[in-house]
Symmetry: D3
């Protein structure tokens, strides 16, 4: 049995995440998805709450055929404690999938196996780019799974990010 | 669509929780299970980590036929902020199932509907009683779903709680 | 100009506090009232929020003839930092009025003048005794200024403390 | 009875705040002034402690003819919890006066009425502009009520901000 | 090169600690002494600050002939993070000396070697017993190294603990 | 007896620190070295843990002929509390050596004597410059005492900072 961990902020969950997860799902028996900076919301880089992100990801992954654990991870502020924090909040895992240089370093120092999945169309499919579209009123729905677009509409997510983006 | 929230500490998840959840599952379309005091572990009242509890509950509920969201909830220490914390960490919910008098009061003051499910054989099926059995070396497996017993064995949970129970 | 500090938890503000404050008001030009453990509410020893306590005290002191500053003070958990915390949250003060042995020690070590006002009918006029009456359904209104009783009724304070006092 | 809430950082309290508060005071029966980022001081954007700001505002408002509650509000870091935090620290309020887009969004999501008062000569009467004058040694007294200028002199506020502004 | 870690609260550092450390010093090349609950002081169980405890231990160990690192360790509140916290605050170590059952469990789960040194006259030489003597005004100097007694006198430690022990 | 305090972040401890400390050591009987931002590590401005920095400084100062106390100081985030925090974590001190304008202001407001030691070749011997060399793969060993270079090699410090400096 091989259980993998994939961590992201998912602001929002988009097609790039989806393509990475589909490839990881072919390699592992069970997958943990850690939602980073879970406690942060309602700002321009983190518009959505952890609960809203759980809902996006659960809906988008409803047809995946392996067990998936979706876990909000609050920040601990101290890099030296982060791996212990993640381990305490998740089921045990054998391998970590991440491209983040700091996350790679932290897990390596802890003696945990790390591999970097290729990102899919990184230049257009980043959270930063998608949030910029949302703020500008440009099309963003094509960048995310349709279930995610539904959730964002249900929670009036575009109204929120556009309001926050106003200047005083 | 009706989504319910059920919050517990699940130290460990036992047959009393199971019987309550089965009844709630008949009343709602989707169920959120909040794991309280998620950040606490390795003490006599909270022997298991949030991740271990996620694993217990996920395995025990693998055949449930409605969508279930299992969410670790770290404490916020301030009762006046707790409802806002729970709401930010979970998908939106319509009703809360709890028998805890404080939790009832906090959700009521927030204008959220609360109902108290009957507890099943409360006197023997409490976390306190089960942890006492584990420490004493008495039989505890019959009090929990078999999947939970498997998880506790996999993580050497009895060794842990018995070690912590020693005196200096 | 002599400005005094008086710190309490005021759960609730009662006639004992009132008699002490009336005497202090004769000795100082301005009075700071610090509301301790401001962040704690909705538990049996701390049923009321800081905001509710601000309202009780403001109403009860509406006819006092010196300037009064009513300041919620969140706990800092570390005794060695508490005096610095209080000083940062309040206007500068010359003297502290308190009977609490730890508070006396902390201000003395910081080189700040402390004096202990006599408590008025301590045995019956304590927050502990008044909260016990509220929970038991006994008469409590006579222990507090009438303006405080009005506030407690407005916020449904008795319902709250009685609900929290139930057992699961 | 209509009670309004107005939140600012008041670093320092200036004539722009004064003109806004005078207009709000005509619309409400009681006014709560929340001092944001109360725990921050001694830096270039937040030179004054909460206690010093309480003193500035209290003195400047000494002749106002409605009840005013001046409440330091420590940050909670999590936007999703901020409204619950403010509500717990203040008397109950019916309406919020603010021009801050995030604050508007947070109160709106909580179902609380918000209105945006017009700012008075915003370009010159901002805290940022006044602090820049203080650091540069330019005239700043004309931007604040005379009682505030007195407090800043009493606490040697200009010495402090100029010292902090030095480079190592 | 073998570096050992010994953790205690040292409220105060006494002859029992001294005898344990002398034995450890025969087995290691370098010794780290971690001062637990470093941030807590001025209460009956933790009368002394971390800095005062650093001074006691440094003076008492001034003639030890191996390198010693004396490190205050603030609590992290979460057992699952404690080992990572200790590792980040101390030089790397090969072995932990402790008799505390929880500390044994936490280091064992982290794969770090632990050994339990025999305690010396535990019944009389405990911090609890010594603090009780200090409060009661009984002789305590004989329980601690003379350098520690000197430090406690210099900081007026007996006055402090006796003041804190008074009832309101 | 005159005890001095010198505070720095020591990321890493370098020859500039060494020359300052040698001059301070001529003026005091005992020296406290406070390691600021102790809890931060594994980022570009703070690559090393507090424990690693303790080891660097201890080794580099092994031949100093006065008692030295090396104390990790976690941040408290609130400037108004920082002096009280430092005082609680260190043995009592008579004088502070620092060039930092904010630190000067905070100790002065607390009535503690401060003096600013001249920095040695500040332009090349800054932590910022040395970390930039480490990241770029340039020579850095000449900027630090040889014992510090040994520690950085032992803990694979260059690998760490270069990994963290990569872009995702």
């Amino acid at each position: 049995m091989k259980r993998g961990l994939y961590v992201g902020r998912f602001q929002p969950y988009h097609n790039g995440h989806k393509s990475v997860i589909e490839r990881i799902a072919d390699e592992v028996d069970e997958l943990i998805i850690g939602i980073g900076s879970a406690e942060i919301s309602h700002d321009l880089r983190h518009p959505f709450t952890a609960g809203e992100r759980v809902l996006m990801i659960s809906r988008a992954l409803k047809d995946i055929n392996i067990p998936v654990y979706i876990i909000p991870l609050e920040d601990v502020k101290r890099n030296a404690l982060w791996v212990a924090h993640v381990k305490s909040m998740t089921p045990p895992f054998d391998i970590v999938y991440t491209g983040n240089p700091l996350v790679i370093e932290l897990f390596r120092e802890a003696g945990i196996r790390v591999t970097s999945p290729p990102m899919y169309r990184r230049e257009t499919l980043s959270g930063t780019a998608i949030r910029a579209r949302m703020i500008a009123g440009d099309a963003w729905e094509e960048c995310v799974p349709s279930e995610v677009a539904d959730v964002i509409r249900e929670i009036h997510g575009i109204d929120r990010i556009q309001q926050i983006a106003k200047t005083d």
